[in-house]
């Protein structure tokens, strides 16, 4: 999927001017609140119209102020999942799900209700009204409704931001599974770096109504390490846990990670902050942290006054954050060897 946008749009004092081309299947738009992310996707979906410019999707002109072209929103086949589920309150779950499906041309219908409700675990909700569903259920119905419209592009405009942390963890796997299983390219909008890294492989960075960067989610997270209170967030997908002395031991490369926030699920995603890691020059004599690894420095990068140290523990990589003084004292250099300690309680389970 390729998106090309050269657009200008003003709302009162806010002005958006964007000029970019991006290709991929899991694209992110990252920016603070009010930076213009939602305006940008609104222009792509056809719910707003640019003052000037052009919008192309896979080479098809959706809008051109010069050629006076404007494909209406309903003909663009770009479905949206909003921050709030926006389910139609007078319709049942089933009717909500089928709203877009019924309006989709038969030759474009590759995803049906039966296959979708199984993936999203909506079987028992179909006959219910939407007003007494939980927040997570509503967002799953909203996602299902958009997928069943069989769009060629799915826009997800901060679909997790109205949910609390627990519900976010429940929804993220669905977002991934659905898009991967049904092979629908998506544009994911968020101001959360973690969500960007979990959901996308390329990111457009929007600030003050302009595109200021086009990068990978990992590079973005590294560049923002200094600004973030929690530093760089390492994300780890771990599997096959076993219980050890009240902790959960997960296979991690050639070794094991001991984590207190684990569970018995076969797979889980954890986050660990770069600030929660301690580097040692030599093997410490005794240490309370339950995870200690010998590692090799593979990259050193500066962000403001902080230094990011990417280390490799066998086949696995992590980023730790230290001060410049610590780099000097530990004589950290690329290719050098260190010891890395992480407390079992420092991991946070995401799913």
């Amino acid at each position: 999927m390729e998106i090309r946008m050269v657009v200008e749009k003003s709302f009162g004092k806010f002005a958006l001017a964007a000029d970019f081309t991006i290709s991929g299947k899991q694209i992110g738009i990252f920016g603070e609140s009010g930076s213009g992310k939602s305006t940008l996707v609104g222009l792509l979906a056809g719910i707003h119209h640019p003052d000037r410019g052009e919008v192309f999707l896979d080479g098809e002109c959706l809008f051109s102020s010069i050629k006076r072209t404007n494909v209406p929103a309903e003909q663009r086949r770009i479905a949206m999942v909003f921050q709030h589920p926006n389910l139609f309150p007078h319709l049942s779950v089933r009717s909500n799900l089928l709203y877009g499906f019924k309006r989709c041309a038969e030759n474009n219908r590759s995803i049906g209700l039966e296959s979708l409700v199984g993936v999203l675990k909506l079987e028992n909700l179909l006959q219910r009204g939407v007003n007494n569903l939980s927040g997570g259920e509503k967002q799953r119905v909203s996602l299902g409704r958009a997928i069943l419209a069989n769009p060629r592009l799915l826009l997800m405009d901060e679909p997790l931001s109205a949910l609390d942390d627990t519900l976010k963890l429940q929804i993220i796997p669905y977002l991934k599974i659905v898009s991967e299983q049904f092979r629908i390219p998506y544009l994911f909008i968020s101001h959360s770096l973690v969500e960007m890294r979990l959901m996308t492989d390329q990111v457009l960075v929007v600030a003050n109504g302009s595109i200021v960067d086009q990068t990978t989610p990992d590079q973005l997270a590294r560049a923002r390490m200094g600004e973030s209170r929690v530093g760089y967030i390492n994300l780890l997908k771990l599997a096959a846990p076993r219980r050890v002395d009240g902790l959960f031991a997960y296979r991690w490369g050639e070794g094991e990670l001991l984590i207190s926030a684990g569970n018995d699920e076969a797979e889980a995603v954890f986050e660990i902050s770069s600030k929660d890691m301690i580097l040692f020059k030599r093997h410490p004599e005794a240490i309370s942290a339950r995870n200690l690894f010998r590692c090799t420095v593979v990259d050193i990068f500066m962000v403001g006054n902080q230094v990011g140290v990417e280390v490799s523990c066998g086949s696995q990589k992590l980023v730790a954050e230290v001060t410049k003084q610590a780099v000097r004292e530990l004589e950290i250099s690329e290719g050098g060897e260190l010891y890395l300690a992480i407390k079992a309680s420092a991991f946070r389970r995401l799913s």
């Binding site: 609104g42 979906a45 056809g46 719910i47 209406p72 929103a73 309903e74 003909q75 663009r76 086949r77 770009i78 479905a79 949206m80 909003f82 709030h84 926006n86 139609f88 309150p89 007078h90 709203y99 877009g100 309006r103 989709c104 009204g129 007003n131 409704r145 958009a146 419209a149 826009l155």
Partner: protein, 227 residues
């Protein structure tokens, strides 16, 4: 005790008929006008808004006089209506027109309030799910503004039952033909011996108004429970 003459029953029947036809006839137009004013930006919208609200602020007698100028034999549309064989003035149809014009702003305002309470993202969601504007209108906007439509219809119906000033100008006060409840009460009130008859029609009028309000509340609650 209620004391009603056959002419009073005619007046009650006619009042109900006039109000029902006025509301039924105004509803599609009122819905369309409310839609235009809620969702479309166009030149002259402010002027349209002012013109629609005007009958609410004018004395009904003034509205009636303008209708007479418009629809009367020598009025602006009079010759046209006469050539088409349509006679409106001093018929029950004129009472319907008077009620419709006076009650129209109430209908439009209530429907607009209903439409404005619909989250714009529901409409955007509908469009991005492949629904053209008319599809969104009938499947999302119409059902979700139903409470506004119900409120507007009830208000307009009640207003029509009480309409006097404009009706007496364009429809006159002909018993059995154009005499509605307010006009009958006015006639009784002019005669010192008909106090009981006037009071009886007043009680009927109050009962009808209460009935409409109860019906409105019951339907409104049923609608809320369904969602």
């Amino acid at each position: 005790m209620l004391s009603l003459s056959p002419a009073d029953y005619d007046a009650i029947w006619l009042s109900g008929k006039v109000a029902t036809v006025a509301v039924a006839g105004s509803l599609p137009v009122g819905f369309a006008v409310a839609y235009l004013m809620t969702y479309l930006k166009f030149r002259g919208r402010l002027l349209m808004e002012v013109l629609i609200t005007l009958p609410l602020t004018l004395p009904p007698v003034v509205v009636g006089y303008f209708l007479l100028l418009l629809l009367g034999k020598k009025g602006w549309l009079g010759p046209l209506l006469e050539s088409a064989g349509i006679r409106l003035i001093f018929t029950w149809k004129a009472a319907v027109i008077a009620s419709a014009v006076v009650g129209f702003p109430l209908l439009v305002r209530s429907i607009r309030i209903g439409m404005e309470s619909i989250d714009s993202q529901l409409i955007q969601a509908s469009r991005t799910l492949g629904a053209p504007w008319y599809d969104t209108l009938f499947t999302i906007i119409l059902p979700l503004s139903f409470r506004g439509i119900l409120a507007g219809s009830s208000l307009m119906f009640a207003r029509s039952l009480g309409e006097f000033g404009a009706t007496i100008i364009v429809a006159g006060n002909i018993p059995g033909v154009t005499q509605t409840i307010p006009l009958a009460i006015y006639e009784y009130a002019s005669s010192p011996t008909s106090e009981t008859m006037a009071l009886s029609l007043c009680i009927v009028s109050v009962c009808m108004a209460l009935g409409i309000l109860f019906l409105h509340e019951v339907l409104g609650r049923k609608l809320s429970q369904r969602r």
